[in-house]
Subunit: 287 residues, 4 copies
């Protein structure tokens, strides 16, 4: 299990949310409220949209709580949209390329959860990734595979549809390998304008996910007056665990749901894995 | 290009060869004599056989020249057989899982060279890796793929034969992708008893490889008296670049050759890529 | 607060105690039973005595729980005497030179605790360090200063006496700076033959410290049969937190006590800070 | 020896100078033209002024050439004034706190060179640092000591005067320790508005230092048209080694000189070590 956070609103200095808010994501890296993995110290990552289309990425294998470069970066950078992630793993190696967010062009992707018994299906799933995307896969997490599957199934054209096809593909490949309930996830995704999020598990018991419904709730986080004023009316956050002292300020995302956050409006729709259109599998020698 | 070194003989303190010898591998990490890549500062690795069947592995993304843990480890550990590697890359990410040696059971593997235009064939080559070995691949180098292909083609039963089949497979997949001359390598491999090495390139211009023919030559490295005495008559080294001041002490391995080093005896045989026996390729859903 | 462990006995493979024992030190790096700092993820270190007088040192800023090099090293190295430490800091930078053990010649030193308001006295205490030792100080912890003060006051000739003088010096300098109760510590120290340990705090509330009184107790740790047999009758451990499931197997070290462990015999004596003999302080220009 | 670079002008994307220019500082990290230390792979650092008074700092122990976070940061951040540094050391440990720039409040400091036989005088020099500044010293370089001495002698009020007093202090302490010619340096310093630089050595043989006299020269660096246009007429650089293909575009700073760069105007004045006003040295117990 990991912890992540997405912000969309007026440009905010990252440290206001990442460090200064009560029970911030950085606090959660050392002591989240999750009973299973209170420690999320296996690296972290930050993806932020600035003045370019392609977002910046800062990922490190150090625990977020003791990385001074992150602290400095967060003190300098202002961004209207960012995703941050602190990692806990018992499976994949701790290396920068396994830290979230993953990036493709202007897209960012974070994940909390796992594919059960992923070692039985990873190879098969990798084969489903479009050959032209394959060389971009640099790490060994199931998360990165989910991202590249979603890209393969059209994330850039039809984000939520592609995510449903990705989920359908994983469940189908896993079922063929004898894994009945394979997928367990929350996802945070953005193209720099809209934030998409998903809460879904094959067994209906996905990890928690929350969003803030009004900027006033964010002020409860303990933001400084100056910071809060800058947020603007459209500021919203999506988090895997409530930030701030008032858990009541957060709305729980229902199981099997997708979120679409744009200009302060959050749409919640059902999320239902779909059969991906058949893809011709490349065979050795046939490229 | 990278630089590597293999030692086989009586147990020697690693620092005697890695740090104290003239123009040692650690010196080569900062200033090798290669015109192309004098700097091999993109991480390093050390694999050594001790009192267990499985060798120890120490790999780091730091340049070998400034890593104090390596210095200390080399000062403590004595080993009758080790492989060490300093890395230079312009392609794959610098992360521990991309540092050599790679290990599978009691086997170690180091590589200098590359697969040309590997991004065009990496996916295809990965598919040739036996599905049961696939989950062990943790990095993104072409080198690690070569190792797992060799294991797939029987490295543990028939080392040099498997390496020829691996080379044949790579060349054949590359040719199908329009790459005429794909392979360029020296390899160092061991099971803890025998050291195997290969110098081969598709175009006949593989990187340099040398071996020492007598223990007296090793003494020329500038080893301390005490260290030299401990080496014993069967001590031999295989290196991608001469260590010590006397390059004349080293025998050049001919192009397209394989080496087999055991108990001080070095056999040099021709190395010729071979067609691997057909492997049934796993298709989605068919496992 | 940190966590540490010392072992003395027949040579044991480090992994048997560091990784395989129940609630081992590595487990404690992620979830110690301390209410204050359950997470000790700010680096770790291992010092072990091998075949040389000078012990080996392996220190890393990564959390101990996710460092593969540590795992491999512990699987290879056997040692009759080692000290290991996992760190939690809210003060000093996370860097290798701040990881314990600290080493001087054949001596190793680990510390759990702190000097209160150390920022007020660090400069003064550094000035008390013998000028010839001063250049060896490479980090910024209070712990390292304690070690070099102890060396200054004769650790190598009279270990426990020197530690008492060190404590006296710290308390006296701190008192002059207005800090009434400055010292809070457990210490583990060795010259490769004897292990010394101290539990002391100025306010009488030092962190916990335990030792094992018989090898049978160590077997309760959940060691494998093979490992337990190798330990020998003189095997003993000193730990800041019980390892294994049976906390009852451990003897609590009383407040204000020093331990001397040699050949399986543990002597517990009172520890009482002493006034160090006056040292001429070096003045600018007077060297 | 190290390599560094300072830029002052209109806000520029850091990558335009750090990565895209010919023979950029990042190129110099692997292969500078210095005969002595072609490799500057012992960490790097970047200090940039953004929208706050306090500059951002990003420092890493990795070689600059293979750090992806640096690449991303440089692609995102725009700054009107920054200092960057790539490090080569044979003395001090490679750790982030030894990477330049050093920072105090809104001041940044980079150094190339060394204090000869610094181990003989480091303690003495540290004692000359104002006690209230002392706790900020986190590393073990002579460079950081130079910075804190300069701050002690009034850097914030009278930059060039303080640097002369710092140099005088070092030379005088070193002379007392039997070191005739102790100082060998170029320095780059800024408060976010003005850039100061010094080229000085006790023996008159300081490392090289250059500045650009007109924005047209910077265009010769191979900047993209878009980047060059953004520079503005006041854009200037100070470098320890020419960037770009045209070494002739650069003006050599004379030995024993100080530079003051503000709004495109560079004043060169003589630099002459001065006796610092006597400082009362703190004695143990006297604070």
């Amino acid at each position: 299990m990991c912890r992540w956070q997405a912000y969309s609103g007026r440009p905010i200095r990252l440290e206001d949310l990442l460090f200064k808010a009560k029970h911030s994501l950085i606090d959660q890296s050392m002591s989240s409220r999750s009973a299973e993995t209170p420690t999320n110290g296996d690296g972290f990552g930050l993806g932020w949209y600035g003045t370019r289309e392609v977002p910046g990425l800062f990922r490190s294998i150090r625990p977020a709580w003791n990385d001074f470069n992150l602290r400095d970066l967060a003190a300098q950078v202002e961004s209207p949209l960012f995703l941050a992630h602190v990692r806990a793993t018992s499976l994949a190696t701790v290396q920068e390329t396994n830290c979230h967010p993953f990036r493709h062009g202007n897209w960012l992707f974070v994940h909390n959860g796992e594919i059960f018994e992923v070692e039985k299906v990873r190879r098969e799933l990798l084969m489903q990734v479009a050959p032209e995307l394959f060389p971009e896969i640099l790490g060994t997490t199931d998360s990165e595979v989910l991202f590249y599957l979603a890209l393969t199934f059209g994330l850039e054209q039809d984000p939520l549809g592609a995510l449903e096809r990705m989920a359908g593909c994983v469940e189908s490949v896993a079922k063929a390998a004898g894994i009945a309930e394979s997928l367990w996830m929350t996802l945070g995704i953005s193209d720099g304008k809209t934030v998409y999020a998903v809460r879904y598990a094959s067994d209906g018991e996905a990890p928690t996910l929350y969003y803030s419904k009004a900027v006033e709730d964010l002020v409860e986080l303990g933001l400084s007056g100056e910071a809060a004023e800058k947020l603007g009316h459209e500021a919203r956050m999506i988090v895997s665990e409530p930030i701030g002292k008032l858990a009541t300020a957060w709305v729980t995302v229902p199981q099997s749901s997708a979120l679409r956050l744009s200009h302060g409006t959050i749409e919640v729709t059902p999320f239902k894995p779909a059969a991906p259109a058949a893809r011709k599998v490349t065979r050795p020698g046939s490229r």
